[in-house]
Amino acid sequence: MSEHLPALLVVVPLILAPVAALSNRPRAAFAAAFAGCWWALYASLALLTRVRSEGVISYALGGWAPPYGIELRLDLVNAFVAVTVATIGAVVIPYAWTSVKKEITEDRIPLFYTAFLLMLSGLLGITVTGDVFNVFVFLEISSLSAYSMIALGQDRRALTATFQYLIMGSVGATFIVIGIGFMYVMTGTLNMADLAERLPAVMDNRTIPVAFTFLTVGITLKLALFPLHLWLPNAYTYAPSAVTAFMASTATKVSVYLLLRFFFTIFGFAFAFGQMRLNMVLMPLSLVAILAMSLVAIYEINVKRLLAFSSVAQIGYMVLGISFGSVLGVTAGLLHIFNHALMKGALFMAMGCVMYRVGSVQLSKMAGLGKKMPWTMAAFVGGGLSLIGVPLTVGFISKWYLVQAALEQGNWLVAGLVMIGSLMALVYIWKVVEVAYFQEADSDVEIREAPLSLLIPTWVLVIASFWFGIDASTTAQVATDAAELLLRGGS
């Protein structure tokens, strides 16, 4: 049984998806989704443990030997990302039950859980596969289910947001598949490890830089790097709360993983950073993302939208780490994948609680909520502290590594800009805190604390974001090992 875990990790949620659709009852569909998410958490943790003790796990799908058949290949990097995705899935799904009942009409709830499971298995599939075409297929599975889940939002603007995301996402996916096609034309293989071996021989051909460019643009579109982020704010704002919490913590993170995988494992550090000078593109863009998007967030009056812009800024931190091209930098990027998933998950879930009781996340509607919903707003503050990067939170750990990586290269300017980004996070978090705690509420509106079924998952993430901020030894160790693995070019 355990040798099939790499396949079962993806396939069990995938087969539970049609089961949820067929059951056609909210409760049964929820049970299927719950089982799928917790199975994924168990399987990914078991795999990470095994990868840490035994090294790379390779699984030949259908019994066909790797370069010819499809290979599932787990090393420290993707096992770490898989655990991140599965953790968020397992925490969001109990939250979804209460939140979704309020926000989605009952006849659509089973389909919501179906889409949720499909998205989870798609994201896990991208993570574990060792085959580039498989990446594209799973990317489409996760994106299409994401579009349908965003479209379930209450606000009618969710539909235009979905359409925008659909167009942009499809452009991104097309670019990725064009890049993959070019690589296939030149090498005749789709297996990642095999590609890495065969690509150096044909690097001189112009096709490979073109493939590289298509892949870079396609993936950065999917991960919403600064000028290609336009789909993200609306999608996050109008999606149902549980969907926003899940997507914000997983979908873009998996794309960051893809970026790492393509640049370091397939094309190799020397090509990506030496010949193509990737850092010259990524570093300015990620710095602009951090500063400009934080600035936009400061002036935003819808808190979900504020957090969405903050997400684009935070993606800037991840890509900035990668653009250093050093072990410390990539470690910072990887760590921030996990850390940001925890804090942004917590923040969006706190906003889901507000949505549940208040019915709106406009800043003006949140006056006095600090008194009326103390636990919800405390969770928001907890997540916010992490976003700012206060010591003892996970945000601090990421920033610490990032600043170290900048100083290692003597890049004081970048280190300073990272600090400024943190200060800007302080401003936009404070803006919400000020309204919630220091403004008088409309006394005639009766608002109670959010139900426990929403608060407990939210607080699990808040506590986790402090836990891994106080004791970061495990996550930092895994991330450092993974970064070393990536920079060695091996997989």
Partner: protein, 140 residues
């Protein structure tokens, strides 16, 4: 449509052949051009033709939207079920060679998997057609 005898008789003659051709494309998919997706579309085309000639109401009586929905989900279950069979019989996931001796196993496996594809594609195609055909015109 009651007076259009040629269309009605023509459709009645064509529909069984379209369905048979769909099955042919499915079962012959591992030797020649074709496969589950094409077969599913062809099979669905038979129902679309029926709906066009005999009206949406009759088509829905033959195949309720609910059935199309179930088809769409069942196909995925069939597909992955064949995959799980590989694990149960002691091979890898999607390993067809354990289903029967030598190449025969590969044939069984691919036909089983493609049957899942046929079912899903057929269900989705019909559901899409119902969704569009069921919309009322804006001007009426």
């Amino acid at each position: 449509m009651d007076d259009r005898v040629i269309l009605r008789v023509g459709a009645k003659i064509l529909i069984p052949f379209i369905m048979i051709f769909g099955l042919y494309v499915h079962f012959h998919g591992d030797y020649g051009p074709g496969g589950g997706f094409q077969a599913g579309v062809i099979f669905a085309a038979a129902f679309v033709l029926y709906a066009l000639i005999f009206g949406l109401g009759n088509a829905i009586q033959v195949l309720p939207p609910k059935a199309a929905y179930i088809c769409a989900a069942m196909g995925v279950v069939i597909y992955l079920g064949v995959g799980f069979l590989g694990i149960i019989l002691g091979g890898q996931f999607m390993d067809y060679s354990v289903l029967a001796y030598s190449y025969t196993g590969q044939h069984y496996g691919i036909i089983g998997v493609e049957l899942g594809v046929v079912t899903t594609v057929f269900g989705v195609m019909v559901a899409l057609f119902y969704a569009f055909a069921g919309r009322r015109r804006v001007d009426s």
